[in-house]
Symmetry: C2
Subunit: 189 residues, 2 copies
DNA sequence: AGTAAATTCGAACGGTCGTCCGATCGAAAG
DNA sequence: CTTTCGATCGGACGACCGTTCGAATTTACT
């Protein structure tokens, strides 16, 4: 337990948001969870917005670490695509908190300018990774060159995202979870 | 202007949420927008939660009226599928507020039990309509009977939903808007 | 050891929130 | 005309919010 207070606060903030959502999380909650005085948050992160922007960065980092562990060298683009879908399935079961935070922050971005930019970056990073690693020239040719790599990447990520929220709302419904696998029809035309 | 106060309050609530999001909308805002005393909200809707549940019903109703106007008699299932995608494109351009409300309420459902049930109903209603009208036996056979109608419906709706949020965050990006059209590959295998 | 800077704390502030309550209004019923 | 009752209002209440500030403590450097 040699975590600095700054880290303890960030961890607590992430955890509280995952549990209750951004709108229902107060600085006092975060401080208590971190075992720290409320004023420490302002000291280290200026204000609530500053802390939450740091949480966005943390969520993005968590996601990218999942990604690193999943994508192996030497996979074909199509295998990477399948793997991408599998990753979402895994995360949805083992760490649904991550997706909740992602959804919550994306929602926040709809209304708040400073968050919009950050969340955009996160989303852009994800789709760009799909664009370059999954939809290379060969795959695009197989699909008839009808759509650009970026378009297909947005479709894949959007599909994953949209199905994931349905799955969170209906955890018992297997046909929704199957939809995730079904998404692979995109590159099996 | 013969609207009853109850209607005025509901209209104002819907409008405020579409503008600022649920979390940033206060009863005083709604009351002012409706030209009504704050206490009237409790009188007609018991409390804030009661009012917001009514807003969910209103949003669902708005959506279904869009739907009624779009789906014509005598369309083939595949045409209905395409039409469904077109509807989302239209709404995203002409009435993005509706989608914002949908996203916001779905997010609320992640954290609040009473909302979860209502939002589930709305989502279930949408996917069920797709299930029965778009993915009939013929279409399923064309696609090789690999997935159930319900699975494919969740995928279509999820794809639309996930792409729509990206489009709202990146209004200038044409490749995202193209992703909506690209979704039709689902039933063009 | 002594001092200056960086941390940490608890208390307080002004503001906003959802809710509640008594008073008033207006129309229908006796 | 009086009574009754639902509708409407403005104000007040307690709780909680994010932020600020001065004092206490710890750390780092000479």
């Amino acid at each position: 337990m040699d975590k600095t207070q700054e880290e303890k606060i960030l961890d607590a903030a992430y955890h509280c948001i995952a549990k209750d959502g951004y709108a229902r999380t107060s600085l006092r909650q975060i401080a208590q969870e971190a075992g720290v005085a409320v004023s420490q948050i302002s000291y280290h992160y200026t204000n609530k917005e500053g802390l939450l922007l740091a949480v966005v960065a943390r969520a993005a980092q968590n996601y990218h670490e999942y990604m690193k562990g999943f994508m192996k060298e030497g996979m074909t683009p199509q295998e990477k695509g399948e793997q991408f879908i599998t990753l979402f399935q895994e995360v949805l079961q083992t760490d649904p908190e991550l997706f909740r935070v992602l959804y919550d922050l994306a929602g926040l971005a709809l209304w708040s300018e400073p968050f919009r930019d950050r969340v955009r970056d996160v989303f852009a990073g994800i789709t760009e990774q799909i664009t370059t690693e999954v939809f290379d020239a060969d795959v695009l040719a197989e699909l008839g060159n009808e759509y650009s790599a970026k378009t297909l990447a947005s479709m894949l990520f959007g599909g994953l995202f949209g199905i994931a929220i349905q799955a969170l709302l209906e955890p018992e419904d297997v046909s929704i979870r199957n939809s995730l696998s079904a998404l692979s029809v995109i590159f099996q035309k």
